[in-house]
Amino acid sequence: MDAFEELTNRYERRVYSLALRLLRHEQDAEDVTQQTFLNALEGLENFRGEASFATWLLRIATHAALKVIRKRKGLDTVSLEEATEETDRYDTIPHPEYIADWRQSPEELVHQREVQRLLEAALARLDDRHRPVFLLRDVEGLSVRETAEALGLSEANTKVRLLRARLQLREELTRTLGNPARRVIRGAHNH
């Protein structure tokens, strides 16, 4: 148990953050976090180390969180994939509009409290189809394949959703963090 408690200490923040960002509801995030570690404790013998322990835990948490999201939407019998496959194509991805060099580097920005708030707010505005992909791939550092597996999506669809998420976040962040004096306007010939 001491070893498991050690693992819990190490990973509880990541699991809770993922759950809270996916669900945007504290009580639900707490329930999912607790369920994740209980499941992990029970299934510890099944952990074969093909993936890292963190990836395995985040997968359990993702499944639990998606279940909550589906229940909220009344989609108990339809998978998230089937329900939402429609419009994820490259040719409908919005083009970048606000393009400007940032006033500060990410290294300078990352410690600022108001920047952390901006990051969370921009994440919250992502569509439910795009947020999980971005969280697993870019925030938690899973590979595209691991992200696709955790979400029950094809790799192709995962990539398109990731691109949409990344571009939307770029757009929002640049509107706040970009230097208006360094704004670049796309010429007509560029299209």
Partner: protein
Amino acid sequence: MKCAELLAALNEYVDGTVDPAICEEFEQHMAGCNPCQVVVDNLRQTITLYKGGKPIELPAPFRLRLHAALRQHWKKTHRPKG
């Protein structure tokens, strides 16, 4: 390569998994297209910022409840035999 085609290859380019032939075209396009160059910079910075962000702390009372629940579950399932 046109701006729209660059957009479609953007993920692979920033992740460093783009095919070398496409990579060359990509970089040629950026050299002649400042807006695309800045979009790529912005996107890299966006990802770096999210990767570098701190995870959210558990509310203290919940953390205590979580650890208590885990210890209790462990006791229930690992009762000494006899």
